[in-house]
Symmetry: C2
Subunit: 323 residues, 2 copies
């Protein structure tokens, strides 16, 4: 049980997932069992049946990312990840502390052999559809080899999960020419060119939303800044538009229609809509959701996790990295 | 003469500047004199009087940043910068090849003593007003000392030019805690905390538009990606909104009003509106404009350059760095 609206939204999402999937998989709810049972009584659960795994502790936003394997080993993140490690479940999803999920996944599940650094990406909307940007903040001071690994994992993920035959992989840079960029990026460009990936070259910040690439690779420092900057844009424009609307009666009159149009247009920019993001490079299936996940987002995270496990993404990654 | 709409927009901007300033300064037009004289005949110049400095070459977008001091020493950028170096003019402005203006400024004018790396920033709109983000792409693989210098120069610039008493300086990072970030940023945080600047700490990508800081410091790789990503947002939303408008008759009917509202709201995101950006850290006053500069932007660049020269920003920087 994690996230700002836990356990309510998590339970609602889990109920929805089981209903839509006609119970073809099972869900173990990890958290304080009594509290969860009481909460379940208050919602309509239909035919959903759950089992429970007791976890008494909560990792909150003020805890360090390492809390799951240090101070709070009885948190839902640690207990759930251990169930996964021991083979009791095929995947683990959480809308809790992202850093803690990432660290706990890496330390409890371990890295896929040959992967130096597991990664979390983020999905950006594009004029064409969607783009996976990796790394979104889990790794800073990345070496060229790490950037190459992100590209490889992103390529396999988008191929298997989105059915893209040869995902277009790009390297985020400050110019299209190979000579542009910092040292790590210049070296990564060489590695990517020599690889068997469908590497389309460097792209710039302006190309993220253009749909040129299916996967864009960058250092987690850059990725995280872009992710958070992007998330702040809808609120900023709402603020600017509010000012403009107040200037003019005609604008005021159309304000309501305007707002609903914008809400729709901005939705595509909303991280939430994509559900969660996978941790790639660990020996297991883990999806991290936004803290503000709605029941729908939770449901989608569960479906995505089931699909990742079913499609054996990790085996594909392991085969590819060992070649 | 530089920029996508040169010489027309540059000449119109120069005429406007002289008219609004009642000829309190002089402008030397640098470029192919005959062509400029012919172009001037086609526009209404009022009482504007210009002198000319012949420059036969043009640095175009395919030239390297070093072209101004290597292959094309008779370009308007090199000729104009040399006039400035020799004391014939107090400032140089250009809407041409940014990289070439930056390199030529650094190599012909030289660095201010004590400054390791001159920088170019970019202005972001905020809910409060405006924020200067430094570096916007001139410097990658920055050392902590460089980030500190950017902060110092940004502080002096915003104090003198915008009249902000104690500009709030922030360090762009992937978390607010001091322990977050890459190695360079962690060290820079220490330097900034020890400095006499009004350092408000780390900010994240989401805080760029919030108005928390007057100056945000980052490596040029990150700054450039954010700048270009930001520039791509209005077009992306226009595309998304177009799709939404087509879905619904009511939306269609209000489409026109919607468009003009959005145009106004997006203007604040438009780099163009801020005119140009200063090169900070060189022995001279140089403003770089957007390639698509309008006459208004050119006019504002000229005013900003005159103000920078008058306020002796470089002397202030030199005094501060030597303390």
């Amino acid at each position: 049980m994690g996230g700002d609206f836990a356990p309510r939204n998590v339970l609602l999402g889990a109920v929805e997932a089981l209903a839509m999937a006609s119970n073809r998989f099972e869900i173990i709810l990890v958290g304080p069992e009594e509290k969860l049972r009481n909460e379940l009584k208050q919602i309509s659960t239909g035919h959903a049946k759950f089992t429970f795994a007791e976890a008494s502790q909560v990792i909150d936003m003020h805890d360090a990312a390492t809390a799951g394997i240090k101070q709070k080993r009885d948190s839902s993140i640690s207990v759930g990840m251990t169930l996964h490690k021991n083979g009791n479940v095929d995947a683990f999803v959480s809308a809790g502390h992202s850093g803690a999920v990432m660290s706990t996944a890496t330390l409890i599940l371990g890295r896929i052999e040959g992967i130096g650094r597991p990664t979390i990406g983020t999905f950006f909307p594009t004029v064409e559809g969607v783009c996976l940007l990796l790394d979104a903040g889990a790794n800073v001071d990345c070496k060229p080899q790490h950037l190459y690994e992100f590209a490889l994992m992103g390529s396999i993920y988008t191929k298997e999960m989105f059915g893209i035959d040869k995902p277009k992989i790009a390297l985020l840079n400050i110019g299209e020419e190979e000579t542009k960029g910092n040292e790590a990026v210049k070296e990564a460009n060489k590695l990517l060119k020599q690889s068997s990936l469908n590497f389309i070259g460097n792209v710039e910040g302006r190309d993220i939303l253009s749909g040129e690439a299916d996967v864009i690779v960058c250092d987690g420092f850059v990725g995280n800044v872009i992710l958070k900057f992007g998330e702040s844009i809808p609120a900023f424009f709402k603020h600017q538009i509010k000012k403009v609307i107040q200037e003019n009666l005609l604008f005021k009159l159309t304000g309501l229609v305007l707002r609903s149009t914008l809400r729709k247009a901005f939705k595509s920019m909303d991280y939430e809509e994509f559900g969660g993001v996978p941790v790639l490079g660990v020996n297991g299936v883990t999806i991290i959701g936004h803290g503000k996940s709605t029941p729908k987002a939770i449901r989608n995270m569960i479906f995505r996790a089931e699909e990742m496990a079913r499609k054996k993404i990790n085996s594909r990654i392991q085969e590819a990295i060992q070649q």
